[in-house]
Subunit: 199 residues, 2 copies
Amino acid sequence: MISSPLIEELIQSLKCLPGVGAKSAQRMAFNLLERNRDGALRLSRTLHDAMEHVSNCERCRTFTESNICHICADPRRAESAQICVVESPQDVLAIEQTLQFQGRYFVLMGHLSPIDGIGPNELHLDMLQRRLEEEKVDEVILATNPTVEGEATAHYIYQMCQKLGVNATRIAHGVPVGGELEFIDGNTLIHAFTGRRKF
Amino acid sequence: MISSPLIEELIQSLKCLPGVGAKSAQRMAFNLLERNRDGALRLSRTLHDAMEHVSNCERCRTFTESNICHICADPRRAESAQICVVESPQDVLAIEQTLQFQGRYFVLMGHLSPIDGIGPNELHLDMLQRRLEEEKVDEVILATNPTVEGEATAHYIYQMCQKLGVNATRIAHGVPVGGELEFIDGNTLIHAFTGRRKF
């Protein structure tokens, strides 16, 4: 239907972007062709470079184009002797934006999910174990998502830490700051009550 | 903040897509890196090819990678002796999907807008005039958008057709099929009444 096989192909490939369907892809393709060819060429280059050169950090497995990411390479980060375990590089980003955590990370790139064939090997937990044995680590902060899989993953790593004699903590679950009690689900409220602290 | 300058650059370039802000761009970048590197590399290639090779058809100015688009190159299309004038290649697509129109097109790639410096030259109306003089054209169907600029553009081309002695028609404005009268704006209702036909 479209006058050009190249445009047809562009629309098809744009659909690989999350949240982009046929209509949005068509709008994007024509918009780029009409108004922003330079931006599109730049996107083409950076897409290629990022996909070819970005891989996992050899220590914490987050995304980086070097062998070791800039957090693992920072000597001041080692002093805190804390390792925060998260599911994805976006979680590292979110925690870094708080400017509160000064330790290092370990990124699982997923969570335990036997039904999808994702076990401890797929999460490279042997790498984490080696780090716990070799580095000076006082505390492992388990910051996986508060989902069924995230909790199971946290529990598995907690048991690993126990065997190695390393302290493990879990981030607090409760009412989000700015949230209203009446709209919070029951499970979160139970966590908020059991996790209450002295005022 | 992000561990990799390459990922940072990818997120920045993804923002050139219409409707994609900082948060969506970040989600897209990590999603492609984690789950769909092949799709991203394909997108990189097709973006490059489309931006380099797609230009305007020499007759109707729609997007094509050939000199003449497949509609203009179709000899059966010339027989109908109708030219439909639209604002953008997407409009051609929408009309082609109805399978009703068998003539040729002229794509303005915009509309008259003196405030933005877009006059008859920018819309290449000289090309349209030459076609009206050289080709056998019985009717020019003005299918610009029913906006102020679209109407002004249609009127300008109507006057051009009058000088050349070519019939010009304007697509009907009225209540969309499936629409409900109570939700239709007054202007459209006026058009629907003045444009009424015998049952």
